[in-house]
Amino acid sequence: MTLDLATIADRIAQLVGTVDPAFEEERFDALERSWGEADTAEVRRRLATAKTSFLTATPHGRLQERFALPVVPQQYTVAATDGSMIAPDRHSPARFYLINIGKVRLSYGTQSSAALTNEPDFRFDEHDLYVPDVVHRIPVNETILGVKRACAELHSVADLLDPADCSVALQDGTLILWAIQSLQDAIVNWAVTEYMEAMRVLRERGIPLASYISAPGSADVLNTLRIAICDYPEMGLQIDCNACRARILTENRPPACDILPAVTDRYLFERVAHLEQGERSGLFDSESFILDKYDPDQRVQFFFLNTGREIARIEVPQWVGSDPNLVDRVHAVVYDQAQKGLGYPVVLQEAHEMAVLSMSDRRLVTDAIERQLARHGVVVTQSGKSGSKRGRFV
């Protein structure tokens, strides 16, 4: 059925009103003031003991510090991998999954060159379709396959680069395994073990890894500002967000940090910190609790970069973040890539293009399986729902 847009047109107009930041001028003034006045040493002290209900970020240097664009290396090599997948489908006659990894290496300088390939990995064995665990029998679903894909992407990108070059391995999205952190322990432990193994390969080969998050929705730094303006320490109390918010109900007392608007770090660094084109913020430690399971040298740090088109969040493992030369290299290379890609790193753009599986590609795989089954005398019976989607009727 066609969407009846007329029935929601008024609601859309109301939505637009709520996302217009101008209507909350007072709260935005408070945000500017808080950012300007926040004392980094005091913020660190508070973060060390605060019991928060949201994610915060610990600044490495001064909270408000910023770094100009370093000189972009004349010669550098950047590689990226991206994956596309067909997850096991209970409506399908056969249990399998497919991960297609797009691989791109771009070298710049006097001898510029490019290599663009992709490699499909088709799995159907029992041990591939279940998470290896002696106690639990956990079938591979879309989330778990996402972890397998992320690991395959890291292993592949490591193979594309030579540490002797001025190189960077770039990934799209986050290096933090958000998707699995609330799943059962067996999955979390398996996923982190696999992911760490993949991240270690890059470390062992000395290839700096970074990931690029376009239009980041995180608010870790903004939440850190909430800690900075919390009035609990002035009252001699330990910062405790849950206790504080409970007082809204019991004492009708609004938390002091509610004066800050509900915006993202992207907004903070664009409109308040005013990062100039090419500039980056200081480094922050992510405080996501899944990182407690990471190797200490692989814990994720991040900075924000004004690419000229947007404020992007760039994540690096701790071993990259602790080397100023590598941070400079990542900063310069990611910025240059975004310029070449007209706002988004060209290497990521092409890796995505190499990986993507179109609807017709997906259909080809299914059809090939069904044809092979038919040759062996297996008649494919479709589930009712799957059949109704394939042959639509009225």
């Binding site: 771009l106 070298s107 710049y108 490019a114 092409e350 293009e353």
Partner: protein, 210 residues
């Protein structure tokens, strides 16, 4: 029917590209190298190995653009970076762009005889497209009875423009003091005696100074 010298000469073994779409009347080929495509109006050849027929066609259109048709090319250069420097700065372009050319089929040869009619089968898909050697051109154009067929084509170019480009190209290859060109033009003049306007378009395009 004219005898065909064909093959043997190194030029005719060179590969220009590969057939990626084919119909009875025309085919589309993708160039092996970006930007490298035969001239408009050039005679090209497909097949001809062992007992297979050689298919002959005239290059009717060329195009360079995104390999993925849903990705349009955008401006990459400016005052400081332009022309080949754009490709130096964007090495991936060589892999995401492609050059294609359309060829109007004008005949085929079987054995040593060439036929100026449409072949009974389309040019085979994924076969190589080769440039024609001078002897290929001499043989195929000796009796230019395929010219009326070209007047009836419907492609991106008006058929008169395509025909004029082809006549100029053959004249350039043969370098025979325009003897072939004069003969072909006379044939066209007779053929188009009731269509002076169309003929004058061709004549103007062949020799604009006249």
């Amino acid at each position: 029917m004219a005898a065909l010298f064909s093959a043997g000469e190194s030029k005719s073994q060179e590969r220009l590209g590969e057939v990626i779409e084919t119909t009875t009347t025309s085919f589309v080929a993708e160039s092996d190298q970006l930007h490298a495509l035969p001239d408009l109006g050039a005679l090209v050849r497909v097949g001809g190995r062992a007992s297979q027929p050689s298919y002959f066609g005239v290059v009717a259109f060329g195009e360079t653009g995104g390999l993925d048709t849903s990705r349009r090319a955008v401006r990459r250069g400016g005052v400081d970076i332009h022309d080949e420097e754009v490709y130096q700065r964007h090495p991936e372009l060589e892999h995401v762009l492609r050059t294609i050319f359309t060829v109007t089929v004008v005949g085929y040869s079987s054995g040593s005889v060439c036929h100026h009619v449409l072949p009974t089968q389309p040019v085979p898909l994924h076969y190589s497209v080769h440039p024609c050697s001078r002897s290929d051109v001499l043989a195929f154009t000796a009796e230019p009875r395929y010219l009326p067929m070209m007047l009836a084509t419907s492609g991106e170019l008006p058929p008169e423009m395509l025909l004029a480009s082809h006549l100029r190209w053959v004249d350039g290859v043969l370098r025979d003091d325009h003897i072939w060109l004069a003969d072909a033009t006379r044939r066209l003049a007779r053929l188009m005696k009731r269509d002076y306007d169309r003929f004058s378009m061709i004549a103007q395009a062949i020799a604009p100074d006249i």
